[in-house]
């Protein structure tokens, strides 16, 4: 479970990136956090991952404060970034092995790595190829494989479908749904309304550091999510 309690971040230059965010993502839930650029989505992720310190409030992972016990919370959280780069001189399998060990999974075999790479849809011939030869979509799949193999209770994703072809994006959604069904709490920050409608259990729209809208799946399917989102974006532009 991921929680934000009055989570606030004001940067050194005075910019208020996040203003008292209150949010809870339960196990077995996919939460889509939508918003324009600079709305505070990535700041939320950075706070949950303890990359930056909150000005006020708390970020909790499975009920543990990330500031107080950062290493403990990292056991329960996995991350997929917008642009997975990894180590170009290592093969996909070597990258997977390194990050799995870093995530505390020290007893995995090559078979386990191959299985998870198959699961995310990576072609077999790419398993032992150096990552610098990979396309962005292939790298994203390896990034997702790293998140899956960590087997954390919570997965945080920052624009994971950005740059992916529709087929790969659809495959990714299927995997997320599968992970959700296995009890994972998934926070996904994106602009992709189409994917949100397809897979989200709840959506939130952020604007200028505040969560301005929160809808359950039933609610946003009734209300036309695209219209709601565009309305909020329009207001932001104005």
């Amino acid at each position: 479970m991921l929680q934000a309690i009055d989570l606030t971040k004001r940067y050194e230059d005075g910019h208020l990136a996040l203003d008292a965010l209150n949010l809870e993502i339960k196990p077995g839930e996919i939460f889509f956090l939508l918003g324009a650029n600079g709305a505070g989505k990535t700041t939320t992720i950075n706070l949950l991952l303890n990359f930056i310190e909150p000005t006020l409030g708390k970020a909790l992972v499975n009920g543990i404060d990330v500031m107080e016990q950062p290493l403990e919370t990292k056991k329960h959280i996995a991350f997929v970034s917008e642009n997975v780069m990894l180590y170009g001189s290592f093969t996909a399998c070597q990258n997977l092995d390194f990050f799995a060990r870093l995530g505390g999974k020290t007893n995995l075999t090559k078979k386990d790595y191959y299985d998870v790479m198959r699961r995310v849809g990576l072609q077999e011939e790419a398993f032992e190829r150096k990552l610098k030869t990979f396309s962005k979509g292939m790298r994203q799949k390896v990034g997702l494989a790293i998140a899956i193999i960590k087997d954390a209770d919570n997965i945080v994703m920052d624009e994971p479908t950005s740059g992916l072809d529709p087929k790969s994006a659809a495959e990714l959604m299927q995997i997320l749904i599968h992970l959700r069904n296995s009890g994972k709490a998934i926070l996904m920050c994106t602009h992709d309304l189409f994917r949100a409608k397809a897979a989200a259990d709840r959506v939130g729209i952020m604007k200028e550091g505040r969560l301005v809208m929160l809808r359950t799946r039933e609610e946003f399917l009734q209300d036309d999510l695209e219209r709601i989102y565009l309305d909020y974006m329009q207001e932001a532009v104005l």
């Binding site: 780069m85 180590y87 001189s89």
Partner: protein, 516 residues
């Protein structure tokens, strides 16, 4: 986790182009440098052997004690192959004199057969290691943090069960594991060339020095790794980091040594040696005046009409006088003069030494100031430490010159204890009985043949040279590995302290590093 990150970095570095370039650079530069240094050393060794033989032959041929002034020929230091230090700029010979203290050696300083080639300076192993290892360390470390940030791998790594401090130490260990083989390779290559050369023999202490040098090189490498990491943790982009790293490298290796020399010369002035020489000349003039005065006084004491004429007489510096035909009165006159001259000359040597010592002290304090200012540069601390370990530092030279001065004292004591300066053999090979008195001489006819008969002149070369078996010989102090370690300890402590400061700075900086 630290080991996992270190292993990953080691493997990545091993596959990188810069690792291959670093290795190739060492492979080309190190053998070339060592071969040039070995050649220099062998030339010095050859020169030492020739000059030692010359000095021994010269000494063994003397017939009178006033000519006995041993020459100390400095044995080249085998470890100068690794760090030539000050040894390349100093002479290799010191003539022991009683009327003056030895200040600097003279003689052979250059090793090139063609002196015009000396315009092209050669650098020694320690200098090459200082330049190469610092550059390679910075080239590997400058982007150790920024590259991970730019590639986004740092974010992913830090979501693993790894703290920032473990991540940092992992990176540090990875760099050490990468660069250590390069450093080890440099040393093994150098040692291999030495071992394969039958003309060079290293003692166990020398090998111990090389082992300590390797240890110091590791500290040195670590300092530049940490410097690169610190810079990398202070900036966001690798492009900024490489520029700052190279600026630091130029500053520490090339600017700082020059600045420290310039500052030390500006702050601690040394007098011109010409002024010291003028003052010394004044003392010498005073001594000769006293000498003349004493001669007259002695003449008066001996009756006023001593005929001081020597046949086959040779005179020279530092009281050298050798004659083989004169009158008893002239011999006694020479002996009495020597009894006066001996302590007086030593007295004047002490007076001149006060001036020289003052000059030397001022030069040493300037040099110490230069070394202290240079402590701001790791490469300078490294240079100073390697010079200590290779016995080529200024302090070693000072200790050596001190031992030469002590040897002079020993020789003087030998002359004094055996009353050599007041013996006839101090200036003549003839015995007392072989000299005629004034009266005997007056009775001679005045013809040359008769004069020779009366003077009983015997050619000097018919006499045996002096037996110098008991004359003390110079023995250079042999440093032990422990004494060298103790001498180098202060600088090693500074290097370790600098390393700790850089590590703390890097930790502090990285703990606040914005990984986004």
């Amino acid at each position: 986790m630290i080991w996992l990150i270190a292993k990953k970095d080691f493997l990545l570095n091993l596959l990188s182009v810069r690792f291959i370039i670093g290795f190739v650079l060492c492979l080309v530069i190190i053998p070339f440098t060592i071969i040039v240094s070995v050649d220099d050393y062998l030339a010095k060794q050859n020169s030492y052997e020739i000059e030692s033989k010359q000095a021994a032959d010269e000494l063994s041929g003397h017939r009178v004690w006033s000519a006995v002034r041993p020459t100390v020929v400095t044995k080249p230091e085998p470890l100068s192959i690794f760090s030539s230090g000050i040894s390349a700029n100093l002479g290799n010979r010191v003539k022991i004199a009683f009327d003056t203290y030895p200040l600097f050696p003279t003689g052979h300083t250059v090793t090139q057969d063609n002196p015009l080639l000396n315009a092209f300076f050669s650098i020694d192993f320690s200098r090459v290691v200082a330049i190469l290892i610092s550059l390679i360390a910075l080239v590997f470390a400058y982007d150790t943090i920024t590259r991970e940030r730019e590639d986004g791998t740092m974010k992913l790594s830090l979501t693993g069960q790894v703290s920032r401090i473990s991540f940092l130490f992992g990176k540090l260990l990875g760099l050490i594991l990468t660069l250590l083989p390069i450093l080890l390779f440099c040393y093994l290559l150098a040692c291999l060339i030495i071992i394969l050369n039958p003309a060079i023999s290293f003692s166990a202490t020398d090998w111990g020095s090389i082992a300590l040098m390797f240890l110091i090189s590791m500290f040195y490498m670590l300092i530049f790794i940490l410097l690169g990491m610190l810079i990398s943790s202070l900036v966001k982009r690798s492009s900024s980091s490489i520029i700052l790293s190279l600026l630091c490298w130029i500053w520490f290796l090339f600017l700082m040594p020059n600045i420290s020399t310039y500052l030390s010369q500006s702050i601690a002035k040394t007098p011109l040696y010409d002024n010291v020489q003028v003052a010394i000349s004044e003392y010498e003039k005073e001594f000769y005046e006293k000498d003349e005065e004493r001669q007259k006084q002695l003449n008066d004491e001996m009756g006023g009409d001593v005929w001081v004429v020597y046949w086959n007489a040779n005179m020279g510096r530092d009281g050298f006088l050798e004659f083989s035909g004169t009158l008893k009165e002239a011999v006694e006159h020479a002996r009495q003069m020597q009894v006066w001259k001996w302590p007086t000359a030593l007295d004047y040597a002490d007076k001149k030494w006060v001036l020289q010592r003052d000059y030397l002290d001022k030069m040493l304090s300037q040099q110490r100031l230069q070394q202290t200012i240079a402590f701001f540069s790791p490469s300078e601390i490294f240079r100073q430490t390697t010079e200590i370990l290779c016995h080529t530092s200024v302090d070693d030279f000072q200790k050596y010159m001190e031992s030469v001065r002590n040897y002079r004292e020993t020789v003087i004591r030998y002359f004094a204890d055996n009353k050599l300066y007041e013996s006839l053999r101090y200036f003549t090979v003839q015995t007392w009985d072989q000299f005629p008195s004034q009266k005997e001489f007056d009775r001679s006819s005045g013809s040359i043949e008769d004069l020779f008969t009366v003077l009983r002149k015997i050619p000097a070369d018919q006499y045996e040279p002096l037996n110098l078996d008991n004359l003390p010989r110079f023995e250079a102090r042999q440093a032990t590995i422990f004494s060298m370690f103790a001498d180098a300890l202060g600088r090693m402590a500074v290097m370790i302290g600098l390393g700790i400061l850089l590590l703390l700075g890097t930790i502090l900086s990285f703990m606040r590093y914005d990984v986004r």
